[in-house]
Symmetry: D2
Subunit: 443 residues, 4 copies
């Protein structure tokens, strides 16, 4: 199987983390899936992803002290594999795992994803429980020196045939449940080890191989970021998406910084290979973190975020509780013209980035359409401009006619308005943190 | 002007450094140019580049102590601009600079290039000499804290309008001479400043702007390496080529290491943007360094180097004294099939890299031809293999037929031989440090 | 209690590691203690220290794969405290711990020490076993993100009252056994965490406080090195000795490098505060490592090591299996004149260090005696010299008479010979890696 | 000559920098010297030091753009040695240099010091001017790759006999003038070179040797900081004082941070060896910097600074314009009891340091007197306390009587008041950023 065919476009969906933290349950997952099926699916949104700690008993019950309770009880099968915690996921009883829930989500025309931590449960190593398909026990494949710096659940797995067998057994199970998407954590950047942040390299390869062996198309998403640009080839070879930032939240500084990360990774966006700007913290967020609230992003910042994610080609994972979505946010998520930029035929490049503004351009290689996005990154209203020549040069379209004046129509993707302009420069007055994105129609 | 049109293919030519160090003179340049015109031009070789210290009196005369003599006399005009040292370059007398030599080289159908150091001569700053087109003197645009760590000639130029005027005056002069190619040194990685190795960033931009203003197509090449991957966008925006290594010489360790550098930069090769593996240390080398000698690379290693540079898409600059070229080396440099890979329609990707072997594939997007290169990086004869599926997946050509057996003819670019094979795997037994590169013809 | 009184001189003794690795047993400890009592005690040697893994079942049984078997069985009491493994230490049966063995060693007029790892057993945290004197269980005081990079046994302990209670319970137990010396590992430099190598800082303080509370004089020794010079005050405040190197073995490179470490730490040697050059790999070594062998140090290097350790003021811990000691080594260990330099009245300073030689001087502040040690660090016979003036200046003894010629007698501490010399310079021809140390008697 | 005898106590004096920056002139130096002779000399203040750029024409005239004007005219003799700029220092005319000024200062019973930059003037290297006592010219001893990162005047000098000859010629000149103190800059930490911040190591040694050869007692002071603790031995061997911080100014954060630096260097304070906390920014400051102002330190902070500098044993160099001193500041500078702590018989150690408070103790080894200093580092009034036992243990005075209650009289050095107290703890309520220092008299 060619893993690039698993994700021909940047995956779009919903993830439970931003609203639920570690606490999401089956009913809540179903409710979000139902909303997606009804309101978002037709625009391309399709993945429903359960994030971290679905296997943990009493997850979230000590939130004042721990996000992840150390040494707490994890639901585990006889082969050292984690299972859904049955109180939160009742349909998983009797060894059914996420099978029934996945089936329901599939019945809505959607796809089902789960989060996992790199490795094997620590408790399995300490209790010497079996590894399926082998004669060894967990202590023999667990690496006691390989832990996650921020989550206490797992040990890394050794790079041995028995270690591979463990990952194969995991994917066999997940495929039997009908999993379509795996977000593996503590693997993209193993940040406990500053001198070796790519220490999970062999586990990426083992996961990729296990996916190939399981026979099911399963998107592989790697976290956390920042991914290591010097290992870009490896991510592209084995994974479908990889986080290019540490956790992204609704703070302008993080959004502004993302322009630098998109600059860095822009040459690495291609079919099946999607550098990931992380979840979209829109709508209502934070309940599981003890502070339910609306996104801190202003409407202008939300538009800027959506525009950057789309023109860059990032995966799009909503953090909002979907059942609480307001109309403005829904409109933001369902603009077909903007979402079209995620199409793998659209190739984008940064034209300019400084402290005050950014300019990107994109070209649809099928239609030949050219786009320009202008961003005001300053804290005051400002005019952002770009030479037409700069846009066309980016894709090698222009050689000699740079100086000649041209007439174009600018179609504003967010407002739907057309503007005619003549000259060598495009410009727009933009509110602080705002942007405009045009499709440029030459006369 | 669109700078990407200055170098639609990776520049190919000859550079004086590897043989002459700092000592090359006019007659020697002409002799090499004449050889190129006669024997190499028809294969695409066209640039004749004079490397470092063409402005220095007595260059090379203290080679036992200094490569670059500190505080020695530099030939300089009234506007703080360096000129060819007239004893070594007699045709430059009477203020003609490199004009006559460039004219001769152009008359051979070739192009003319020079090396420069970032900045303005230190002596100009200390003597307060004028900057053309301004009312300031050199001390006012020179930055006394910005020096090169390994060459004593220059101070960096400040990022001011008068600093730009100095670069404009340089390019005005070079354009008047007929310069087609500038290799600017101490600018790609300013390695004296480990906390700020991109300290010459603004000087790259000033140089690029000065080239635009001079009205001549001049290729901009940046040295030394390693270029900083986190600034890839900047190099692509302003330059035509940039060194991805420190100085490359004829040592296997350096050649083997280049596979890692090519992995890193492969996504950054495009028309007008050429990550540079540095000069080809072939043929006779080292006279100016006090040890005239044949390349230390074995014939197998030479083939490996040529194959990697071509499939990757590196600029190709010969280090050999051309008038001493033997037939074997000449053959290596004139294989049209291999050189065809430098065409910007050919896109290449690494398929595998480990300590023992490497595999690359390329595809000509115009013809649809697919290539595979297998390298034995180990120190013993070994069989290197690759799944056919891996090659086709790289470019998204295959989805479902990976497992089916196919029949192909493998055309060996170096030997010119065809081989028919059937199955799912390509493989070749290769001598240590050797390679094979095939065009794959499907039946 | 003033912890500086626990170790008025650098501790001298024997440690099981260099010969036994993780495998030493009770009979072997007794045999070494008996040898010490008979042959070494009168020269000041007194500590008998059992190194790592005395609590582990089957320690050393997988030596081809692991020095420390991951997730193996550890002998532990009801309060999460490790106990001697009863098969190797039969007298520990019935909950007696190291009490009987310590009693025997005390009966020989010697002192008893043990090695511990920082923290609480991982298995205790996973099994939620009790912490004595508290209502909490081990999982509540163990930090799941704090592990040792090279040993799988423990988790670090949190900096809480309950964490302190655990260390108090440990010291209560050790004091009840009669422990006189604790070598705590993974605490001096927690090298898994290169950005925070002093992450065990609070555990050093908790250990020191627990020692104060237990009411017994127990020397606190911290490992591994290199200790962090920027935290010197902290070591001096809380500990008696701390390793200034990573593991030291019988390689000349490591011995030569120790001169740099002694330079660095020389100002930090004082009563109760002993920077530690690590064990003396003399005599027969390595059995537990699978390669029983004589020390690789030449006799000259052995003398150099002994001289440096003594003049610097390092703790002296023998690595040799004592029952196999030869007469030459025994002589090296029983030179009263050399060992006298360990006296805390003797203060030493480096006079010179370059790649070829080193010179140290020392002064006994009680007797006024001045010493000089000259070391030939080169690989050939060489004459090493020092100005008499340099020695006296080091301690501020001389002001004006530096140029005048003086007559002195040099008493060679190793040979016992006297030499008379007149002049301003002392010098000696020394074999490669050899040294001379004189007491200087002025006429 | 034993360099430790040049500075038996931490040097005390005045330095022109904090008030005058680069602009001080002869009349101003004389006025400050006269004030010192009249009001401060009897308390130990004796050095009058002219700081940076005394050789530069028009120093300070472009203060809005440059602290040090690049490539400006420097007064220089025929041997590449800098001379006082004659407009600012009229008595230096006719080649007399600082001789007349030094003579005047000596006539007041004071000592005379100057600031120099490491190296040889850049202009000398570019003009090939002679080096006295050699047949070489400046270009042959100047290292073109060795510059100062923040001052444009000099190149570093090569480690050759001719380089030594240059330093010898400098010291010959300075000794002929009557210089008693040299503050050499860009040498203690050559911070342009983060990978080699001790790159001036050989120049320290050459300076020290030149001082020995010149036959005059000249204190050698090294700047800037932070000095490198791993090279402490080298500073102690060759210099009299070395800066342990970057430039210190009147900001509480810098003062608070100094406690960490004093912790680090406390073991390196001895006769002739004085880690340097930098100038005291008291009184009126900043005129040359364009903002004449009173110190920003509150009276409490001033007392804290004076107490720390004195108990630690730092050199004491006033930054204030002396002719503008007020009575409160004068009182601070003339407390004989506090200044007594600078005596080399007084040895001090930190007892405690945390974010809120610090405690130091000192002992006069001649008188046996014990001191305690308590500092409130928090931003609110707080009670700082210390166990009496902690103080006595620090110097090994107490072993067994720690628990017993004692009666002492506390003599407050700043207020001159006595307090009687009984118990095991000393404590004091202190205003934010304030301190108390007691002499402890046991009953």
């Amino acid at each position: 199987m060619n893993k690039n065919t698993f994700a021909k476009h940047p995956p779009m969906g919903w993830n439970s983390y931003d609203y639920y933290d570690t606490t999401v349950n089956e009913a809540q997952v179903r409710a979000n899936a139902e909303y997606m099926a009804e309101h978002l699916k037709e625009y391309g949104w399709e993945y429903v992803v359960i994030d971290i700690e679905w296997y943990a008993h009493k997850a979230g019950s000590q939130r004042d002290r721990f996000q992840y309770i150390p040494f707490s009880q994890l639901e585990m099968d006889e082969y050292s594999r984690l299972l859904p915690e049955p109180e939160r996921f009742p349909s998983s009883a009797d060894g059914k795992g996420f099978g029934p829930l996945a089936e329901y989500i599939h019945s809505l025309g959607l796809k089902f994803g789960i989060h996992i931590m790199r490795g094997i449960p620590r408790i399995a190593a300490h209790l010497h429980t079996p590894v399926k398909g082998t004669s060894v026990t967990a202590d023999q494949i667990a690496n006691p020196s390989s832990i996650c710096g921020w989550n206490p659940d797992m040990y890394g797995v050794r790079n041995t045939p028995e270690g591979q067998a463990y990952y194969d057994s995991l994917l066999e199970l997940y495929a039997s449940w009908g999993v379509d998407f795996i977000k593996c954590d503590d693997i993209c950047n193993t940040n406990l080890y500053p001198n070796d942040p790519f220490s999970g390299r062999h586990e990426i390869e083992m996961l990729a191989k296990a996916i190939q062996r399981c026979g099911r198309f399963i998107v592989l998403s790697l976290s956390p970021g920042p991914a290591l640009i010097e290992h870009a080839w490896h991510y592209e070879k084995y994974a479908n998406m990889w986080r290019i930032t540490d956790d992204f939240w609704d703070h302008w500084d993080l959004l502004k910084d993302m322009f630098h990360r998109c600059e860095l990774w822009q040459n690495h966006v291609s079919e099946g290979c999607w550098p990931d700007c992380d979840m979209l913290p829109l709508g209502t967020l934070g309940k599981g973190f003890g502070e339910e609230r609306a996104t801190r992003f202003t409407p202008e910042e939300q538009k800027t975020m959506m525009t950057l994610w789309c023109i860059f080609g990032s995966p799009m994972m909503l953090g909002a509780e979907l059942t609480l979505l307001d109309q403005e946010t829904l409109a933001l998520l369902t603009n077909r013209e903007v979402l079209h930029l995620l199409n793998s035929d659209c190739h984008a490049r940064q034209v300019r980035l400084d402290d005050d503004c950014a300019v990107w351009t994109a070209r649809d290689t099928k239609t030949g359409d050219v786009y320009a996005a202008l961003f005001n990154l300053s804290d005051e209203t400002a005019t952002v401009s770009v030479q037409l020549e700069e846009l066309t040069e980016t894709f090698g379209l222009s050689e000699n006619d740079g100086d000649s004046t041209v007439s174009v129509t600018l179609y504003d993707l967010w407002s739907g308005c057309d503007t005619n302009t003549t000259g060598t420069t495009l410009q727009s007055e933009l509110a602080a943190h705002s942007c405009v994105i045009w499709k440029i129609l030459r006369h």
